[in-house]
């Protein structure tokens, strides 16, 4: 095989490889991109219906309830402007607490409540997940008349 043919083959190989990789990436991205919304955005209708997404905010103090003797828990997630009730069945992570930030993964159920299939906790000592902190922390606050 002449050196020129070899080079052509190499270039072709690279193009095919890159094309395949790009196709793979595109395929993999579909359905595996999760968007994050805070309660206000969810109530405003920004979050997708019928698809999973992530919701985050502060767990309202005193809102954690268990159905006695079962794995089912309910609590309220808030961004201090709006709140959404969350329902989850399973073990809550160690770092989950009332009055602290949390992120849940799941979808909106019937009746305006968020049905979580996973409640996430970060393995560091920050109580406020950065996405939550950002959504709570508005440098240009709107004046709220008392």
């Amino acid at each position: 095989m002449t050196p020129r043919r070899k080079r052509l083959l190499a270039v072709l190989g690279i193009l095919v490889g890159v094309g395949a990789a790009a196709a793979l990436a595109t395929l993999a991205f579909e359905d595996n991109l999760l968007y994050f919304y805070n309660p206000s955005q969810v109530l405003a209708g920004d979050a997708p219906q019928g698809r999973t997404f992530r919701i985050g905010g502060m767990v309202t103090d005193g809102s954690l309830e268990r159905t006695e003797g079962t794995l089912e828990v309910r609590f309220v997630v808030t961004d201090y402007r709006n709140s959404i009730p969350v329902r989850y069945e399973g073990l809550l992570p160690d770092l989950f607490r009332e009055g602290q930030g949390m992120i849940a993964h799941g979808r909106m159920g019937t009746g305006g409540e968020f049905v979580a299939d996973e409640v996430l906790a970060k393995h560091d000592e920050n109580y406020m997940p950065p996405e939550v902190a950002e959504s709570l922390h508005d440098p240009q606050p709107a004046r709220v008349a008392e």
Partner: protein, 649 residues
């Protein structure tokens, strides 16, 4: 007093790093031996003073000196001695000091072992290492000083994060850093080579053992992190494609491609510019990983903004180091063409496939890790990329890689696969597929396509690896350490693949609400919640449950999961109860008191999971054997000394 001395030692270390860089580069440029010697002396000095600074910080922790802000923020009077020491690298400032110490250590080792290198080249390598040292020490002294005082001293410390009060996670950073920082040696060699415009491949032979050692530490570090996550954190999960994990996995992938590429460059002088690029990439990814994890920017781009001083420094440092080396690459690489040929089935070819597939996987993982960053920076919303993406983009290149791996090990340089070998390999391939189907059916009762493929590839790689020493010994060839290393490492890859296929195909994980005496059955094992008691530890108290496991009436184990409250306050922590076995792990984690006398439990059956880490250990062991090969110690010295002698006027 001691903290101030530590601070002073750090300043001296910075001065010595500067001297190291200045005299090394200056000496090389001017050809003056006294200057180059001064550079080497500065290396020793830098190491001594960084070690003193580290010692001062460690002392402050051991003596519970809460007048040092960093100590007060990360320690506690009741913290056991081992963890007081581990707390030194428990947070940002201390881990930078650890990084700097390890870098000084590697630099010292390179200085000691490189006396047969061409003197200006050796100096330039030390010079580049010096520049990196300067960067880290400036960063510490400028923005992240571990010795800042707290006046008046705190009455009590804030304690080390309970998650970090664990043996595996205590030793995880030093081992990981030995790997990360070790790649700086290959990086420095690559930069020196590019700077001098060297066209030969001698640097590849020099770099290879250093890179192997760094890579093997990184392998152990990653395996350690995965193992820790399994029993401590992830409720039985062992890999999450978390940004933090990816930050260490990406340099590992680059390192894997690098050690294979170095083999080709060393042996046949091919792929020179590509290998240089890989050397730069491996270290760049290490730097990127450390900083991005520490600064939180992987989760939110604006994390930089809450601490702009540190953010600006990190960005500037990355730009200088990575950008600078890539520009040098662009400048010199075009002249590094080589025209040796090789057959399609030759070893070179297989190394090329290895590189192509590994780098493809690496690029796609990098894309997935950085994608949220890009979206956030462009204000297109807050996204996260889920594990299914990473699983897919990693799996797809790995399937052909594993298949080719089995063949590539037997391919000769330049010529390719011999006919006799082909026959043997067909036989092994057939045996692998058969064995895979049998295992699936017999051990787990089902034969699934992906599982069969996974098992088949795993067994294929393992058998093919074993074939290497068999063939060699039968034809009375020697088995050098490098080949033994390859066998161990590839066998380890196969074993890990076996474990991964097994656990992901057949694992069972479920949550239950149980009262005392209640039982459930998972994968043929009966789990019964038998008792609950109070427990107490050195700095915590809590409850412990007994979960009795039996199979077909025969007792198997008693798992003892705990829920602990640490005295320093904070969230309660779950400690899982695990029964370790070669064929499977049984796992129980305690959740919460549900009322009515019931507690929540997460119970798991994890087949073959131990093989994942055992495989990783074998991979690291293989790297060690390869690095210790005599070829590197004797031949290199003689050859290079001869070349240096010939080059003298």
């Amino acid at each position: 007093m001691i903290p101030e001395l530590g601070h002073f030692a750090l300043i001296l270390a910075l001065l010595l790093s500067t001297a190291q860089a200045f005299f090394s580069f200056g000496g090389a440029a001017r050809g003056t031996e006294p200057w180059m010697a001064a550079g080497r002396t500065a290396v020793v000095g830098q190491f001594v003073f960084i070690a003193l600074a580290f010692g001062a910080l460690a002392w402050s922790f051991v003596e519970r000196d809460f007048s040092v802000l960093y100590v007060a923020s990360n320690s506690h009077s009741e913290l056991p001695l081992f963890y007081r020491i581990a707390a030194v690298w428990g947070a940002h400032e201390g881990s930078l000091l650890l990084w700097s110490l390890i870098l000084a250590g590697w630099t010292l080792a390179v200085t000691a072992a490189s006396s047969s290198l061409d003197a200006p080249f050796r100096s330039r390598v030390l010079g580049f290492l010096g520049l990196i040292s300067i960067g880290f020490q400036l960063f510490m002294l400028g923005t992240s000083n571990p010795f800042t005082r707290l006046m008046p001293a705190a009455a009590e410390g804030l304690d080390l994060n309970p998650l970090l009060q664990d043996f595996a996670l205590a030793v995880h950073p030093p081992i990981l850093y030995l790997g990360y920082v070790g790649f700086s040696v290959a990086f420095a060699f690559a930069c020196a080579t590019l700077f001098e415009g060297r066209l030969d491949a001698a640097w590849a032979r020099w770099t290879r053992p250093w890179t192997l050692v760094a890579w093997l530490f990184l392998t152990i570090g990653i395996a350690l992190g995965s193992w820790w996550a399994y029993y401590e954190l992830g409720w039985g999960g062992w890999w999450f494609w978390d940004a933090v994990e990816n930050a260490s996995f990406m340099p590992w992938l680059a390192g894997t491609a690098l050690i294979h590429s170095l083999a080709v460059t060393e042996k046949r002088g091919l792929f020179k510019s590509w290998t240089l690029l890989l050397a730069i990439s491996a270290f760049s990814l290490s730097l990127l990983g450390t900083f991005l994890v520490r600064s939180g920017v992987l989760i939110s781009v604006h994390a930089f903004a809450t601490d702009p001083e540190r953010g600006i420094f990190i960005l500037a440092f990355l730009t200088v180091v990575v950008g600078g080396s890539l520009l040098m690459y662009a400048w010199r690489a075009p002249r590094l063409k080589s025209s040796a040929g090789f057959e399609v089935t030759s070893r070179e070819s297989f190394m090329l496939f290895n590189n192509a597939l590994v780098v493809t996987a690496l690029s796609l993982i990098l894309l997935g890790t950085l994608y949220p960053l890009f979206m956030d920076a462009l204000e297109l919303g807050k996204v996260s990329v889920g594990p299914p993406y990473f699983n897919l983009v990693f799996l797809v290149p790995m399937l052909p890689l594993l298949a080719l791996l089995g063949v590539g090990m037997h391919a000769a340089w330049k010529r390719g696969l011999l006919a006799a070998m082909r026959t043997r390999l067909y036989a092994v391939a057939g045996a692998s597929v058969a064995a895979s189907a049998i295992i699936g059916a017999a051990a787990y009762g089902e034969v699934r396509p992906m599982t069969t493929i996974g098992f088949a590839l795993a067994i294929w790689v393992m058998l093919s690896s074993l074939l290497v020493p068999l063939v060699r010994l039968r034809s009375r060839q020697r088995l050098p350490a490098a080949v033994l290393g390859m066998v161990f490492a590839h066998f380890g890859v196969g074993l890990a693949t076996l474990g991964i296929t097994g656990v992901e195909s057949f694992k069972v994980e479920k949550d239950f609400a149980l009262g005392i005496g209640d039982g459930v059955t998972i994968a043929g094992y009966d789990f019964k919640y038998a008792a609950l008691r109070d427990v107490r530890g050195p700095n915590y108290n809590g409850v412990e449950a007994d979960v009795v496991v039996s199979r077909r009436g025969e007792p198997v184990a008693v798992l003892k999961p705990q829920k602990r409250h640490y005295n320093s306050g904070g969230n309660p922590l779950s400690e899982a109860g695990i029964e370790v076995g070669a064929a499977r792990d049984l796992f129980a984690a305690l959740g919460d008191d549900l009322g009515q006398g019931r507690w929540s439990f997460r119970l798991q059956y994890k087949p073959l999971i131990r093989f994942v880490w055992l495989g990783a250990i074998l991979v690291a062991l293989g790297g060690l054997f390869a690095a210790l090969d005599h070829r590197y110690r004797r031949r290199v010295t003689a050859e290079v000394r001869d070349a240096a002698a010939a080059a003298l006027p």
